[in-house]
């Protein structure tokens, strides 16, 4: 069976900045100098995240809380699409 682009996306990880808005995602890895702060805020490995809006600052829900995060920080969060 040929792999469709969407199938490829589901299997691979992208940065949170590049993930599409409205998707349910799972955090795969967190890096960068602010990784501890991101984890403390809830962006830690295996956590489910829903991306609500794109922009200069992204809006995501993590554990039912709505968080705003600069896109340059979101670049350090690798996510996998769940839906």
């Amino acid at each position: 069976m040929a792999l469709t682009p969407s199938k490829l996306f589901v299997d691979s990880t992208v940065s949170l900045t590049k993930a599409a808005a409205g998707c349910d995602l799972q955090v795969e890895s967190v890096g960068g100098p602010d990784c501890s702060q991101l984890r403390d805020l809830g962006f830690c490995e295996q956590m489910r995240v829903r991306k609500i809006a794109n922009g200069r600052n992204l809006i995501c829900t993590v554990c039912g809380s709505r968080l705003a995060i600069s896109s340059h920080l979101a670049d350090h969060i690798q996510v996998k699409q769940l839906s």
Partner: protein, 676 residues
């Protein structure tokens, strides 16, 4: 009385610990009956507040409300306050029991902090707040299972409704439980590193060496606070750990693994309402273009309402003071004492108190914005603008507080994580027009334009002038405070769900503000008014003519001395002395002009009439611009010195803003004189 007995009688200390905006201050108020400030956004509490409570068994307890923190590894000064209290260092005694407050709807985010408290071996209880919100989101937490897994008593509550508060008081029985056993472990070498460092710290005589050792390994920033000997010990222990994860990273990893296990066991998620309403409102209010328009509209409505709705209560206050003046004039014999009562006290204080309705309207609107959750959205919207001047949207919240008063605004900068961004925010903050400037604006604006809409527009313009100038100056000072040219501020903030305003809290807050304003009017402004009256009355002019009195008085002579300095601004001796007097409190400007004109009525229209007779529009504009920019508040300078830990910064700010205000007023006067 022996020392042992005194210690025995001291109330056990409790501390509320949790993430920002989890409801600690609401719980603090519910437990102690206090009136600590609360708001629907993170970072409202930046210092330690204490209160007392009694358990149902009559045990007196001392409760501290600590600033919110995501972790004990602090990134901002307010988080460091919480860290120091829990460690029992820097003069803060460690609490006997920690009350960990978590949001039941976001347990996985909040539990790591609770496990950190357990790692510090502090006795604790776990308060599961916002259980109603969790249920509405389809999250149910089994408190019994959670208690078994965490090893702490768990009390579900709804702090805002007071539900479960009695259960919590029951759980605070004395003697307190011992610290919970730690049911997770990092790699052996990390555990050994903590033990080793703890022993070395103990040998150095550090207080609570085990807790300090734990934090020194987890937080590189904390190490810098230690003595050079202690730092050398930390360095030695870290060097000994042979590669791989640092002890801090290792502990964090083990903690998060345990949190996942606990959540899997104790939390059940099922289909619930997602916050569709908040999403819909946010889609509109946080729109990059429309969102900023809504923000501007909200503030314009605020200023419009200040002019529109305050008219009737202001007339009432004017009538009360007018009647009091008439009564005093008719009941007392003619003479100096009557003049003091009518012109000095009733005229001086009345000239300020008349603006109470408008000040309360300002606080009513700010209270609604704080209570509904809009403040965090305002910070989000302003982040794009503020990043251009080197600040993040996070700094906008203290700046917004500055619209009420610069002092709590400067203190609120503790929640700004970057020290350089914090300093920059402090430097520009007094340009946010505080409520003390409001009476001056309200006196002068009707001299420029008639009509509520136009007056509101001018008021909006004055606030915008201060704010925009603050941003421009921040851009210019960016390098001076050490921020790199390509500095990219980080923005991380929780956007709380929208809530209906908490009218009970807002009403209480308004009552407090009204009381504080009236106390200030009845003490500071009263005293200054009496002094100003005396300076305007003595020595008496030999001619006995009222028109000669001001020039002959001490105030008139002071005014003549300062006149050469203020004359280029279009001001005369009266305005010069009013400006000087308002360094004690800006509102005194109104009292001073009322006294110096010896206006009989407390009616501000009478003062305006005198203004119209004496000055042209460029002078009014020059005065307004001066009051927008001048830092005429010594208490603010003291707080800036304390928060920036530098008198050089505070004095430099006072001098810089005074010179800026003078030059801006000078330019305004001469440019407007050319065109008007």
């Amino acid at each position: 009385m022996s020392e042992a007995l005194v210690q025995e009688q001291a109330a056990p200390r409790l501390a509320l610990v949790g993430h920002p905006n989890v409801g600690k201050s609401t719980l603090f108020n519910a437990l102690t009956g206090s009136r600590a400030k609360v708001g629907n956004y993170g970072g409202v509490t930046v210092g330690v507040k204490t209160g007392e409570l009694f358990t149902p068994h009559g045990q007196k307890l001392e409760l501290a409300d600590l600033p919110g923190c995501l972790s004990l590894v602090s990134r901002a000064d307010d988080e460091a306050v919480t860290r120091d209290v829990l460690l029992g260092i820097n003069g803060a005694p460690a609490p006997d029991l920690v009350v960990c407050v978590v949001d039941a709807s976001a347990l996985e985010r909040h539990l790591p902090l609770v496990l950190q408290v357990i790692e510090l071996r502090l006795p604790a209880v776990l308060v599961l707040n916002k259980i109603d919100l969790a249920e509405s989101q389809g999250v149910s937490v089994d408190a019994t299972l959670l208690s078994e897994e965490v090893g702490l008593p768990v009390i579900p509550i709804r702090a805002d409704e007071g539900v479960g508060v009695l259960d919590l008081k029951q759980a605070l029985r004395f003697p307190f439980p011992r610290s919970a056993p730690k049911s997770w472990h990092a790699a052996k070498k990390s555990e050994q590193a903590i033990g080793e460092l703890s022993e070395r710290f103990n040998a150095l005589g550090l207080v609570n060496p085990d807790r300090q050792a734990w934090l020194a390994l987890a937080d590189e920033g904390f190490r810098k606070n230690l003595s050079s000997e202690a730092q050398a010990e930390v360095h030695g222990v870290v060097e000994e750990s042979d590669g791989g994860l640092t002890p801090g990273e290792d502990l964090e990893s083990a903690r998060r693994e345990r949190v996942r296990e606990i959540v899997n066991i104790a939390v059940n998620e099922h289909a619930g309402e997602q916050s569709a309403l908040t999403d819909k409102i946010d889609a509109e209010l946080l729109h990059p273009v429309r969102g900023l328009l809504y923000l501007a509209l909200i503030f314009f409505l605020l200023f419009w309402s200040i002019f529109k709705w305050a008219e009737a209560p202001m007339t009432f206050v004017e009538d009360v003071f007018g009647a009091a003046g008439d009564f005093a004039r008719s009941a007392l014999p003619e003479g100096l004492f009557t003049d003091l009562i009518v012109e000095g006290i009733i005229g001086g204080v009345g000239g300020v108190v008349v603006f109470l309705p408008q000040i309360l309207l300002l606080f009513l609107f700010l209270g609604i914005l704080e209570s509904t959750g809009y403040m965090a959205r305002a910070a989000f919207l302003m982040d794009g603008v503020m990043s251009r001047v080197g600040l993040s949207g996070r700094s906008f919240l203290p700046l917004l507080s500055g619209y009420a008063c610069a002092i709590p605004g400067v203190m609120a900068t503790r929640s700004v994580p970057s020290a350089k961004e914090r300093l920059l925010t402090i430097l520009i903050l007094p340009w946010m027009s505080c409520s003390a400037r409001l009476p001056v604006y309200l006196l002068l604006i009707p001299l420029m334009v008639a009509g509520v809409f136009q007056q509101a527009l001018v008021m909006f313009g004055l606030y915008a002038l201060g704010t925009v100038t603050a941003f421009v100056v921040a851009r210019l000072l960016k390098g001076t405070v050490g921020l790199a040219k390509d500095h990219q501020p980080s923005f991380l903030m929780e956007l709380p769900p929208y809530r209906a305003p908490d009218w009970r809290y807002i009403a209480r807050h308004l009552l407090e503000r009204a009381t504080a304003f009236l106390v200030k009017a009845g003490t500071v402004i009263l005293a200054i008014s009496v002094i100003l009256w005396a300076l305007a009355t003595f020595p008496k002019a030999p001619s006995g003519e009222e028109s000669d009195q001001f020039e002959y008085s001490a105030m008139g002579r002071m005014g003549q001395a300062i006149e050469p300095v203020v004359a280029p601004l279009g001001w005369d001796a009266r305005l010069g002395t009013a400006m000087l007097a308002s360094f004690s409190a800006r509102e005194v400007f109104n009292s001073q002009v009322a006294i110096s004109y010896a206006v009989d009525e407390e009616d501000d229209d009478a003062v305006r009439e005198e203004f119209r007779r004496s000055y042209e529009l460029p002078t009014v504009l020059s005065l307004l611009v001066f009051y927008v920019f001048a830092l005429q508040c010594f208490p603010t300078t003291v707080v800036v010195a304390r928060e920036s830990k530098s008198w050089k910064v505070a004095i430099g700010q006072l001098a810089g803003m005074s010179i800026f205000a003078y030059v801006a007023a000078l330019a305004t006067f001469h440019l407007s004189a050319l065109f008007l």
